[in-house]
Amino acid sequence: MLTRRLPSRRNIMRGIFAAGGAAFLAGCKQFDGVSQAAWFRKNVLHIGEDINAAVQGFFLRPSSLAREFSEADISAKFKANGTTNPDDPGYQALAANGFADYRLKVGGLVENPMEFSLADLRAMPARTQITRHDCVEGWSCIGKWTGVQLALVLDKVKLKPEARYIMFTCFDKLEQTLDDTGRYYETHSLEDAYHPQTILAYGMNDGVLDIPHGAPLRLRTERTLGYKMAKYIMSIDAIDDYSKISLGNGGFWEDRGYDWYAGI
């Protein structure tokens, strides 16, 4: 005699959970393809950055300052991340001479392009700030930075009205490529560039800025994550568009998938 056995509820549940568990344990590999798909990154995954930029842009006033700390809060060990000693021969020659021959070139969409030696920059009014450096990797360190406000430098060269971003080109290549796309660079909005805490730092923790932390000159933009704060600055340019520069996303890490808006 044929009997049809209906699966019991318990067995159905077992089946559902076994299938669900298997899908889960198969890993999140099913999201690897979509994570790399250009259309999904551009049209879906990018939405979070757009909302963050809009919402933080709404709440952040030009006068909103990052918290400044006291001497007692300074980290004993300030981690040096990314490049810690650029192997560029020109950079090494400058370093050998204590950066006495270093000239910061400031140009692009400006009325009068200029060059600044470290002595020129030190002769300008200095700002010292003890701030928390937030790495995109999740750690933070607190350091004391001394430098000249970027706004003062930009005032000297006078931006043309069409300038929309400030670009920093660096001595270091964080990735070896046949073209120049492995070179570190960053772009910033004019609001961040003119922010009072945005400085070109030549000093750290009461000493001269050392090579692991970006000598002779590095950027501090205290309301952003660390990767926006270019080290080993070679030149600064005012630009109106970054889509034609390097891989087109406005920075070394931005070209490798990270957010251009790095306030979170």
Binding site: S64, S75, R132, D134
Partner: protein
């Protein structure tokens, strides 16, 4: 319960009655949360893996993490070590050291728990910061309707009488005796209310890690005592939500899985006949 509700309650064989238990908003936000938290957890673990250690304070005291997942070479091969405070556990194969594509790799959480499966902080952040907005919007809809409609006060905040009955309720749960009534019991109320609080703390701790938001709202990190503490609190809250999830699933399974699932899908829950009206 209104009289109209009773009139539509359908008597079932076995002396049970179907009553309306979950509102449409509760059901929809519940399932959206399941979907969103799946992505948030696994992209969050991907982000954690970029620095697989937790610290307390404003900055990271690299030599003294309160918790870390590391890999170490030993004479008998590499091992994965989970450190919590002064305690060290060998978690080879799961935490600190696990296999990726058949190869041993030093990773905080294993590849099958992260989105993407391979190490990619940039993509993990994009998933996380997109789903964080869905989570916040979904949570806001739940909280606003729950506060305005009275669901939170009426169904979740335990009464003094509820709290007095907490001892007997624990005994009943331990004996796996479940009364099928419309109202949540006191342990359910505390668990559901608790997980809402944990999710709110998790969101604020997440926001406190943003240097932009810290500049706009300096109290964000101040309430945690530092960005690294906020990161630690964020992960602890995530683990508490995982714990809630595990207990929740077990309770759903052992206290009448079909009835529970139906009530969260259609809103209708079978109760013992005679218990469909408020006892008080």
């Amino acid at each position: 319960m209104t009289v109209a509700d009773v009139a539509t309650d359908k008597p079932l064989p076995g002396g049970t009655v179907l009553v309306r238990r979950h509102s449409g908003v509760v059901r929809v936000t519940h399932w959206i949360n399941v979907f969103v938290l799946f992505f948030l957890l696994q992209s969050g673990l991907q982000i954690f893996n970029a620095t697989p250690a937790l610290y307390v304070g404003q900055y990271a005291d690299f030599d003294h993490p309160v918790m870390s997942l590391t890999a170490r070479n030993t004479p008998s091969g590499p091992v994965g070590i989970t450190q919590i405070g002064g305690a060290h556990f060998d978690t080879t194969g799961f935490l600190g050291l696990s296999k990726y594509d058949g190869q041993w790799a030093a990773r905080g959480f294993p590849s099958w728990l992260t989105i993407p499966s391979y190490q990619d902080l940039a993509a993990g952040r994009r998933w996380h910061l997109l789903f964080a907005w869905l989570f916040a919007i979904n949570g806001a809809v739940y909280l606003i309707t729950g506060l305005a409609g009275g669901h939170l006060w009426r169904d979740l905040v335990p009464s003094v009488k509820d709290l007095r009955g907490i001892g007997p309720s624990i005994v009943e749960h331990a004996r796996l005796h479940f009364a099928h009534v419309r109202e949540y019991n006191v342990l359910q109320k505390l668990a559901y209310l608790g997980v809402i609080v944990v999710m709110l703390v998790l969101i604020v701790a997440g926001m406190a890690m943003s240097p932009g938001l810290d500049s706009a709202f300096p109290f964000l990190t101040a309430i945690f005592g530092g960005r690294q503490t906020a990161r630690t609190v964020h992960l602890i809250c995530a683990m508490l939500i995982v714990l809630f999830f595990v207990v929740h699933i077990v309770m759903v399974l052992i206290s009448g899985v079909w009835n529970n699932l139906r009530s969260m899908i259609t809103g209708r829950y079978a109760v013992s006949a005679g218990s469909e009206t408020h006892a008080d």
